[in-house]
């Protein structure tokens, strides 16, 4: 136990306006499926699509008492210079289909599906999430994301109909509709004996009507509440609008701020926004994305990190990174030579399909980068490594030194946990579960058993309150 540990474990008896660190951290695992961080150029790197890879990661995580297993959502394959991107792992199963399968081979771990609010319909998505919640005995969660580009829309009947500026307004209306659908059944609505007069109590479900700008919903929901009442909500947007949306609607933020100072500031910001939204300071939890590169000693971990990075950013990846911004093929340039002396072909870089960069001023950027590389004497590879290191979310070190670091996060309540992206599939959690978790348990900052069978229990989240407009139990319309 760390010195002068002041932590209280329940916020209930405290002032709701004051943030109380739980003193604990939790882990989640994010099986990304499509990214440049998962290495594949080594024999231990397994399949990205075989069920056994998913089973192994999920069961290892459960052995390590992880709170949650995350999956991303694929809506369109990433592209590079107008063709599918070839260099990184790609190809992933539909999130909820895979999570429904994992529900049958796991017992406690939460199952989190990333699903966007633009290319799904509220009634259909809410129903599928409720199904996953019931199938898993109350372990489902929804990581709410927004997408708005027409490029993704090309795979969908609806197409790209949403303005970028409208995306959170739309997402919030969508989430509110989903909550109404989940709240629509009376508690304990279904009979507990076949002798009952009817299968469900009369008037058990309220019809949900909503006429929105972008969609209209009129549905009588067909599922009762789950053991955790309704799916847990995660939210991953980092813009001010995204943070406010999370403060109003989410249970957990899947943040991009794992570094200590940034994490503390992010917590302060979220607490302020949560209070402004009329919720308690502890009502929104934070789990940043992170990567762990561990070893028996700090030295061993550093060496491992170099090896991992060399596989993540090979010569072709370094060139491809620049090509995204130059908008042209640069394969004739030496990855170990200086940055290209030719200019980008466009004034504003086209959006890199599916990888999240949006239209930077290309020529300006190229000039800046060339100057920076020249000043530091960097080759293309070294420059690209330095760029990626800047957004480095990696904890590197021995099991015990990383455990010490994480214990400090727990002590001050900088985060509620970390959502770990393994850099190798399917063995990427083994050293974390075998070595780091016991160190954290020794320090009293990590669970030693699952608190319950539902995700809400395991995250320590309160049972939600029924949407106020639904409290009067009248069958029929609840507009």
């Amino acid at each position: 136990m760390s010195r002068n540990d002041p932590i209280q474990h329940s916020s209930k008896q405290h002032n709701r306006a004051k943030f109380q660190p739980s003193g604990k951290i939790q882990f989640g695992v994010f099986f990304q499926g499509v990214n440049s961080g998962t290495i594949w150029k080594t024999p231990e790197a397994g399949s990205q699509t075989d069920f056994e890879s998913f089973r192994r990661i999920a069961q290892t995580a459960e052995r390590g008492l992880f709170a949650a297993f995350f999956l991303g959502e694929g809506l369109r394959l990433r592209e590079h210079l107008g063709r599918p991107h070839a260099l990184d792992v790609a190809g992933r199963p539909d999130a909820q289909t895979m999570l429904a399968a994992l529900a049958s081979v796991t017992r406690n771990i939460g199952l989190v599906a990333t699903q966007n609010t633009t290319y799904n319909d509220p009634a259909d998505l809410a129903h599928r999430l409720a199904s996953l919640d019931l199938l898993s005995g109350g372990r489902a969660a929804w990581n709410v994301v927004t997408t708005d580009n027409a490029w993704t829309g090309a795979n969908f009947r609806r197409g790209g109909y949403l303005d970028h500026a409208d995306r959170y307004v739309h997402a919030e209306a969508f989430v509110q509709t989903a909550k109404r659908i989940w709240d629509s059944w009376e508690d304990d609505a279904v009979a507990s004996t076949v002798q009952a007069e009817s299968w469900a109590v009369p008037g058990h479900a309220r019809r949900v009507l909503r006429e929105g700008q972008h969609y209209t919903v009129d549905v009588t929901p067909r599922l009762p509440r789950s053991a955790q009442y309704r799916p847990v909500l995660f939210q991953a947007g980092d813009s001010p609008d995204g943070r406010d949306f999370a403060a109003r609607q989410a249970d957990v933020i899947f943040s991009a701020q794992p570094k200590f100072e940034a994490a503390v500031k992010f917590r302060e910001d979220i607490v302020a926004r949560t209070l402004a939204a009329g919720r308690g300071a502890n009502e929104v939890q934070i789990m940043p994305a992170s990567e762990f590169i561990l070893g028996a000693t700090d030295q061993e971990a550093r060496e491992k990190k170099e090896w991992v990075r060399s596989l993540q950013i090979g010569p072709q990846q370094a060139i491809a990174y620049l090509e995204q911004f130059w908008g042209r093929e640069l394969s004739s340039f030496d990855p170990d030579g200086p940055l290209p002396d030719i200019d980008p072909v466009v004034e504003t870089t086209s959006e890199t399909r599916g990888s999240g960069f949006h239209g930077a001023k290309a020529r300006e950027l190229a000039d800046q980068w060339r100057a920076e590389a020249q000043e530091n004497g960097w080759s293309i590879r070294q420059f690209v490594s330095s760029r990626t290191a800047r957004i480095d979310s990696t904890f590197t070190g021995s099991y015990s030194s990383v455990a010490d670091t994480l214990a400090e996060y727990a002590r001050v309540g900088a985060v509620d946990g970390f959502n770990i992206s393994p850099w190798i599939i399917p063995s990427g959690l083994d050293d974390i579960v075998n070595h780091l978790v016991p160190e954290l348990q020794e320090r009293g900052v990590y669970p030693t058993e699952y608190a319950g069978s539902t995700l809400r229990e395991n995250l320590g989240l309160a049972t939600p309150v029924r949407s106020p407009e639904l409290v009067p139990a009248t069958a029929g319309s609840a507009r």
Partner: protein, 390 residues
């Protein structure tokens, strides 16, 4: 793998507590134990160990304003849940083609095939239910439009499943390429000019590599399938046929088989006969059981209904399986009928040699007598190469 063409297969519909609306009152569990994973596990494993070759899962809204079951889990997720815990039974959810995004349907079904080790299938649904339209803010599709919607979704699915050629994941360390981009293809689907709904397009490629079976078997109600299109027999792998009585069902199945060119092992498609089943059980006659159920809730079904003993059913199924490739049974009360089917009916059919063996590790295509299909894009690319060299 080819099966004895004279031997048939049996599918069991696992929705809810059975096909009869009052089934829940005769179920061997409490109503609030219906909508969970344990129930899926129990029923799928019971069907598998009884020797059923396939389990189907109905989807969609239930009748409202009744005293009967009002809840239903998403069918595709039920099938996915059963994937890792079963070993030989094909898992075939109903997936709508009218109000569901075709891209989602295709990638979810491909994913089902991965979690079910090549035992996934697609039971095509085209719903004319106004409630399903209202739930997603669309106007209801007309009766004539349904087959067009189904045909379009099936074509999107088939193109997306092929959009990754086999072996597209190359992991080529010297060139740093994880994927061979030449083996990825845009589906570039566009609804045909005569499409009655709002026109749409789907770009592709899929987000997941080609399903383990290459193409999942596509099953469709015969009412959606027609030789003049829009959904032609060649675009599906099996049709489900119904008739008002068991006798007429034998004729109906036979005429479909003749019309569709025989069994799938030849050039044809599989014919699956649809049959409701009520059996004698634990000393109570089927007729008495049915009367009791009907007194609780009326049962109207579009399918032929068999009411009788296990021995009579075995006799009838042996005859029906001469005319059809398979039969899908809709048990009046799942817990009750499945017990009789497992103990008396399937063993008798196996004894008579009219059932294909249920093989652990086999694919659903293998069960239907279908080879793993060539990929349309691989074929096109090879044809182009041949022409170029010629």
């Amino acid at each position: 793998m080819s099966s004895d063409p004279k031997a048939g297969f049996l599918a069991l519909e696992l929705d809810g507590d059975g096909a009869h609306p009052a089934a829940w009152r005769k179920a061997r569990h409490a109503p609030d134990e219906l909508l969970n994973g344990a129930r899926i596990r129990e029923t799928v494993l019971a069907a598998e160990s009884a020797g059923f070759h396939a389990a189907t899962f109905t989807d969609g809204p239930l009748p409202e304003g009744t005293q009967d079951v009002a809840g239903r889990l998403n069918a595709l997720q039920r099938a996915a849940f059963a994937g890792p815990i079963s070993g030989s039974i094909a898992l075939v959810p109903e997936v709508d083609t009218v109000y569901t995004e075709p891209f989602h349907a295709a990638t979810q079904l491909a994913s089902l095939d991965y979690v079910a080790a090549g035992r996934g299938g697609w039971l095509v649904k085209a719903s004319g239910d106004a409630r399903e339209a209202a739930a997603v803010g669309r106007s209801v599709a007309s009766e004539e439009a349904l087959a067009h919607e189904a045909a379009a979704s099936v074509e999107v699915g088939r193109r997306l499943w092929d959009s990754w050629e086999d072996g597209a994941v190359i992991r080529d360390i010297p060139t740093g390429r994880y994927l061979d981009v030449d083996k990825l293809h845009y589906a570039d689907f566009e609804t045909p000019a005569d499409f009655p709904g709002e026109a749409y397009s789907v770009k592709g490629p899929s987000i997941i590599p080609r399903p383990l079976q290459g193409q999942l078997p596509v099953l469709a109600p015969a009412s959606l399938v027609s030789a003049d299109g829009p959904l032609r027999p060649a675009e599906v792998d099996a049709v489900l046929v119904s008739a008002p009585t068991p006798e007429l069902l034998v004729d109906e199945a036979g005429s479909h088989r003749a019309a569709h060119g025989g069994s799938p092992a030849g050039a044809g498609i599989a014919v699956i006969a649809e049959l409701d089943v009520v059996l004698d059980s634990r000393g109570q006659s089927a007729a008495a059981r049915l009367a009791e159920l009907d007194a609780l809730s009326p049962w109207s079904s579009p399918r032929a209904r068999f009411v009788g003993t296990a021995a009579q059913l075995a006799e009838f199924l042996a005859e029906l399986l001469q005319a059809a490739d398979g039969v899908r049974l809709h048990p009046a009360v799942l817990d009750v009928e499945l017990e009789e089917l497992a103990q008396l009916v399937l063993p008798e059919l196996r004894r008579r040699g009219v059932l294909r063996p249920a093989v652990a590790g086999a694919t659903f295509r293998g069960l239907l007598g279908l080879e793993r299909p060539a990929n349309r894009y691989t074929t096109a690319r090879q044809t182009t190469l041949t022409e170029e060299t010629a």
